[in-house]
Symmetry: C2
Subunit: 432 residues, 2 copies
C-alpha cells in the first residue's frame, strides 16, 4: 500500500522557530539538511529525519554546572534538546530525573558483581518513559502552532499525550488498538481528550495515522510520533543523560534497553555520543543490548540470523507496549548492537512474568511487562555468558506494573483471608 | 474492648539508637519524655507519643544550603527527621521531592487568583504519599533490629510496606480489608511478602493489629503504623518541607489536606512549625483545611458541630484510602483547623469523581479518589467563601488514579471504536 509521508523541503520558507540548540532536520540516510518543520521523511531519499544541533562546545565544566543547577527534570538538559531555553517555565509535564536504583539484591540473585542499576522510569508523571518524548513533542507542537495533539499508541503514549495536552491546554485525539489493557484505556481517556479505538494491531493504527496526516480530516494536527517524530524521539536521549549524570558523569559499561520501534535505543546511543562529544563524560566503550518479547521479536530474530533488515511479524505477547511488529528503527538497532558489541535477545511471556516478580521481590520495583522483558533478557544474557557480570550494567524499566496488572494478577494475591482475631490468624500459619 | 498498647517506659534500658536529631519520645498529652523505643503510648497517661528533636539551630542559611545540596528525595531533610545521618546510602525507596505543580488552568476554573498549586505525590515510588512515612519507619525498624515489617492498611500503605521491605531485605506481612480495590491488592502482594485479607473494615484491621502486637504471634514485628508509629508519622512532615522549599522557602497561605487518621495533617502542621523554628521560612500565618469524603466524615461532622471529640462512623465511600471511621488524630486535626483559621469540609462520592476528572482535564494529573476529595473540597470551600481565592493555596494529591480506576471507569472510555480507514474515522465525527 502507499503511505503518504510528510517530507521536509529545503525550499520550505516558514519562519524560523526557536527550538534552542536545534538548527535543522537531517536525513539519517543521505545526510541532507532541511529547515525545522513538522516533517519526518527526507525529500530526496525518503530516509527518516532527525534533529541536528549546534551543541555547546569548549566548556564542559560550565555546561556541567549549568545542568546540575537546573531543575530536577529533563529540562536540566535543555541545552542539548530541541526546546527553547525558557522551556522550564512553560506548562509541560516536566518528566524525568527518575531514580537510578542501585539494585544490589537483584545483582546478588543474578550474580552481577560489577554494579547493577535499574533506571526506573515508572516515576514519570504518567508512569512511563513516554512522558519524556511527549514533553519534547509538546514544545515542537507549540513552536509550530498546532492546537491538537495526536498519536498512534500501544497505550502508554496515549496516556502521556492525554496528560500533556491537558497540561498545555491543547486538544488531544489519540488512536489505540481497541483491545488494550483497560488501565491504559482509562488513563488515555481520563484527561478529557478523544480516544479512538481501532480494530486492528498497533501497526494498523500506525498506518492509519500516516494516512490521516495526509488527509484534511487530520489537518493541523501534531502527531507526536509521526509529523513531530524527529522532535519527539529526542526525548529518549534524556535517559542516557540522566543515567550518566546519576553515575557521577560516567558511561556505564553495558545497557539493556527494550525495543518497540527501536527509537528509544537509537536515541540513547545518540545521547551517549553527545555526552562524549561535549566532553561531559570520558570516552570509553559501552555496549547496548536490545530486549524483546519472543512473541514480538523481529529485531532479535534478525540479529540472530545475521540479517541487516527486519522482517515484520504479527505480535502475540503480553508485553503490549513493545508489540510493534514492524519496528521503524529496527535496522539502526541492529547496527548499534553490533557496533557496540552488544546483542539483541528475547524472552517468553512466562519469563517476563517471572522477571517482573523477581524485580519486585528483590528491589521493590513493580515493573510493566516491558520491564519484565529487560530484566528477563538481562538474566538470560548473563546465563549465556553474553553480558559480562563484572561490568557496570544499567537495565531500563520503562513503565509501571499498575498498567499491566493482568500479567501478574493470576498468580499474585493474598496469602490468606482471615477473620479479625488471633485464632484465625494463627490458623493461617503466618505467625512470627 | 480492651486494646493492648505498647507503652514507653522511662526505665527502658535498651542501648541508645542513632536516629539522627531524634532524642526522645514525647507524650502529646502530658509532655513526659521517654527513650527512643518501639512504643506509641505514654506510660503515664496513655497519650500518643511523638518524636522530640534536638533540631539544628542558629544557622538557617547553613541548614538551607545543606538541604539544597542533598539528594532529590526526602533524605535532603535528614537533619529534621528521625533517621541516621547516612540514611541516603542505605537500601530504602527514597521517596519524595515530588512535583509542586503550578495549576494555572485549574485555578482559572476555580477562580483562584492568588496562585494555586497541586502537590502531586503520585510521583512517589509506589505512587502514594505512604512511601514517605514507610521510608522513615524502615529506618526505625533497622535501628530496633526488626526483621518483619507489618501494617494495617487501606491499600496504599500495604504496597508501600511491601516495596520498602523488599528493597531493604526485610520480610513483609501486611493486613488489609478483604474487599480492597484489586490494583491495591496486587500491588501489596507482588513484592513477595505475605498479604492477609481481613473480613471487616479498616478499623477492624487496625484493632486486630493492636491485638497481634501484644501477642507472641506478632513478636518481633515492626508494625509501621502501630509500634513504629511515632517514627513513621514523621515522614509526613516532608510534605510541608518540600512545599515550602518548592515555593522558594516560603509558607503557603492555605493548604488543603486529606484526612484519614488525621496524622498527615497534624504532621504537616508540625513540619511547618519546625521550618519557622529553625528559621528556614519567615513566620507568617497559614491556614490548614481538612478534607473528607461525606461517606466517612467524622472529623468534618465534629468540626461543623463545634465538638472537640470525634464520634466514630462506619465508612461508606469510594475514597477507601481515607475510609478510617475512627481517626486517631481527629481531635488534633480539629484543634489545628480551628487554631490556624482553616476548616474541615466533606464532599460526596459524585463530587469526588467530578473533581478527579476536573484535575485530569485541566492539569494532566490523574488522582486517586483521595485527590478527588481534596480538589472537590477546595472547590466547595471557594464557592462557600471559606477559602480565599486571592491567597496562595496548595492542594495535596496523595495518591494515583491507576489504583482507583473503578471510580472513573464507568464514565471514562473511548470516544469511538472504528475500523482502520478514513471513512470510518470521518463517520465518528472527530475529524479536524
Amino acid at each position: 500500500m502507499s503511505v503518504p509521508t510528510v517530507t521536509a523541503s529545503a525550499r520550505n520558507a516558514t519562519p524560523a522557530v526557536d527550538l534552542g540548540p536545534a538548527v535543522a532536520l537531517s536525513c539519517r540516510e543521505c545526510g541532507e539538511r532541511f529547515p525545522l518543520t513538522p516533517a519526518f521523511a527526507c525529500e530526496s531519499c525518503f530516509g527518516p529525519l532527525e534533529i541536528a544541533y549546534d551543541l555547546p562546545a569548549g566548556d564542559p565544566e560550565g555546561l556541567r554546572r549549568r545542568i546540575e543547577a537546573g531543575p530536577a527534570n529533563i529540562w536540566r538538559y535543555a541545552p542539548l534538546l530541541p526546546v527553547p531555553a525558557d522551556v522550564a517555565g512553560k506548562p509541560n509535564m516536566n518528566p524525568g530525573w527518575t531514580p537510578l536504583v542501585k539494585a544490589d539484591r537483584l545483582a546478588a540473585e543474578l550474580g552481577v558483581t560489577g554494579g547493577l542499576y535499574v533506571k526506573d522510569d515508572s516515576g514519570n508523571p504518567t508512569h512511563s518513559f513516554k512522558d519524556r518524548v511527549v514533553a519534547n513533542a509538546v514544545e515542537a507542537a507549540r513552536a509550530f502552532g498546532f492546537t491538537t495533539l495526536s498519536c498512534s499508541s500501544t497505550g502508554n503514549l496515549a496516556g502521556a499525550v492525554g496528560a500533556a495536552a491537558a497540561r498545555a491546554g491543547l486538544r488531544a485525539c489519540v488512536f489505540i488498538p481497541h483491545d488494550l489493557e483497560q488501565p491504559k484505556v482509562v488513563m488515555a481517556a481520563v484527561y478529557g481528550g478523544d480516544v479512538v479505538g481501532i480494530e486492528g494491531t498497533y501497526d494498523d493504527v500506525n498506518r492509519f495515522c500516516s494516512e490521516l496526516i495526509g488527509d484534511p480530516a487530520g489537518e493541523g494536527w501534531g502527531f507526536v510520533n509521526v509529523n513531530l517524530r524527529p522532535y519527539y524521539a529526542e526525548g529518549s536521549k534524556t535517559l542516557a543523560y540522566e543515567i550518566c549524570e546519576q553515575l557521577g558523569w560516567r558511561l556505564p559499561d553495558q545497557l539493556v534497553v527494550p525495543i518497540a520501534s527501536g527509537s528509544q535505543l537509537t536515541k540513547i546511543d545518540k545521547g551517549l555520543k553527545e555526552l562524549i562529544a561535549t566532553g561531559l563524560v570520558e570516552d570509553r566503550p559501552y555496549k547496548i543490548f536490545g530486549a524483546q518479547a519472543t512473541g514480538c521479536s523481529p529485531v532479535a530474530q534478525a540479529y540472530k540470523a545475521g540479517h541487516d533488515v527486519v522482517r515484520p511479524v504479527r505480535p502475540e505477547t503480553i508485553a503490549k507496549s513493545l508489540a510493534i511488529g514492524n519496528p521503524a528503527d529496527g535496522p539502526y538497532v541492529l547496527d548499534i548492537a553490533r557496533r557496540t558489541g552488544g546483542a539483541v535477545e528475547d524472552v517468553s511471556d512466562e519469563q517476563v512474568v517471572d522477571a517482573i516478580k523477581l524485580l519486585a521481590r528483590t528491589e521493590g520495583i513493580f515493573a510493566e511487562t516491558a520491564g519484565g522483558v529487560t530484566v528477563g533478557v538481562t538474566r538470560k544474557l548473563i546465563e549465556a555468558g553474553v553480558l559480562d557480570p563484572t561490568l557496570t550494567t544499567v537495565v531500563l524499566n520503562t513503565g509501571d506494573g499498575l498498567k499491566t496488572l493482568d500479567a501478574v494478577e493470576p498468580t499474585t494475591g493474598p496469602s490468606a483471608i482471615i477473620r479479625p482475631n488471633l485464632d484465625s490468624f494463627r490458623e493461617a500459619g503466618l505467625a512470627s
